[in-house]
Amino acid sequence: MNIVNSIKIVSYGIVLLILSIIPFVAGPYGVELLTGLMGYIILATAWAMFSGPTGYISLATVAFFGIGAYTVAVLSEVLPYPLVLLAAAGTGLVVSLVVGLATLRLAGVYFVIFTFGLAELIRQLVTWYEVNITGTLGRYVFLPLEPVHIYWQLLFLAVVTLVTAAYVSKSRSGFALRIIGDDETVAQHCGINLARTKLFLFAISATIITLVGAIQAPRWVYIEPAIVFNPTLSFMTLIMALLGGSRQLWGPLIGAVTLFMLFEWLSTHFPNHYSIILGFLFITIVFFVPNGVLEFIKKILVRRLKKSSKTIPSKRETA
């Protein structure tokens, strides 16, 4: 068991090392691609940390992402960079706690609609504030950061997110989320404090999402609400996590890599039909692999195993 573990750790280390030095050979386009990909890997994994086990489908991803980006835009010239990131995380945490307290009592489709509305509300509020109070719509983010610095920060955050997700899935809180996802009434009667458990993990997930927005803000140099509060980001995150399997640790990552590469290819080859294909993909995934590809493969393997173990005695019987 220990040997298996140490092999695992060494191979993770090697992969991480390769990912860290890849920008030196990848060129500017490669770094840009990897940065976008890393961003979605974190978003999908952080999203699935809460929404996977509970089945609370959140469309508020972009709300937190945008809050992160705007905090950086507002504070980048006032505070040193590490403090700016800290402030962004803090803002995300506070907003998620307030939102969580208000919404986590809602279930099912009401929660989905609320989170979607929340993202729109925050976007409109920011727009209103910028237009009426500051008198401009967009903001500039000038930070002495090169694309590769952004990539490394995201790589670090991705590792932190995956380690957190792995820890949560094995922890008592993660187990509580699975029980809540199955049956909230039973969860309560088992002694689980529903509000506290849901709020705690929703806040962790939302804070990580906020940090992705904060770290990526300098990429665009110029930001405005329409860019950083674009609801497509929430849908992309959701569909990536669902494709890979939102209840598996590696599911969201697999979904993010597959779909990000596919969208990249589609947007260069079919720039005009991109949205149609995207919509079609959404429907296909939800319809055919609602529990994700990993779960789907597992099921097929189990079915085959069962079949092969059944065929042996039946042959003996006929003989």
Partner: protein
Amino acid sequence: MIHLLDFQNVVRHFSGLVAVDGVSFSVSNGETLGLLGPNGSGKTTLLNMISGALKPTSGLISLNGSRISGLSPNQIAHRGIARTFQLVRCLPSLSVSENVIAALAFGKEKLWGQEAKDRALQELKFVGLGDRANEDVSSLTYIDQKRLELARALATNPDVLLLDEWLAGLNPVELTEGIDLIHSLQDTGTTIILVEHIMEAVRALCHRCIVMNAGRIIADDATAIALENPEVIQAYLGVPDA
């Protein structure tokens, strides 16, 4: 006898409807109390108020002398009350043993890891599911799902166990097995409140019965006496035609 659970003038309204209307009674330690009555008489509402799923409109429910009415279900679970549901509710995405660990990990004792696994197996053995710990819930038959639900309730190590029609829907063989299982629970000294329609089970298991009709208690006596009460017979069978 020491009173374990106490109801004092408990009322529960559902907007205009009075489901439970000024109910008072006590349950003693180690007692098995049958809660009977026709459909809609307020039995399940009463059970839901004990477990915290519903809060009384007025009145007081106390356990071991301290008030539990108004607390949330998870707080009440920690105080020592466990329940099963009228329609069996197992956790479908968890294994059989994880279903029991769910109650161990968040109940009074907060067991986790190997300790929780060992205790879960112990509870499963008690209800006769010891060899199915690693299976999926979907592979269990109806009675086995009921057994599992019972094991989950017992895992919280409750002072009071609420069984809401736990024996309903079982075939005669399963019913005998079910009654035997509850008998073995009684031997451990667990206090049980049983909502049940199967008279065979009520007679075999309950020391005392409370019969309800339209939200009120119409009889509260030793089982044999309560079941002979003319008002009880009338509530169940109606008034004979003239």
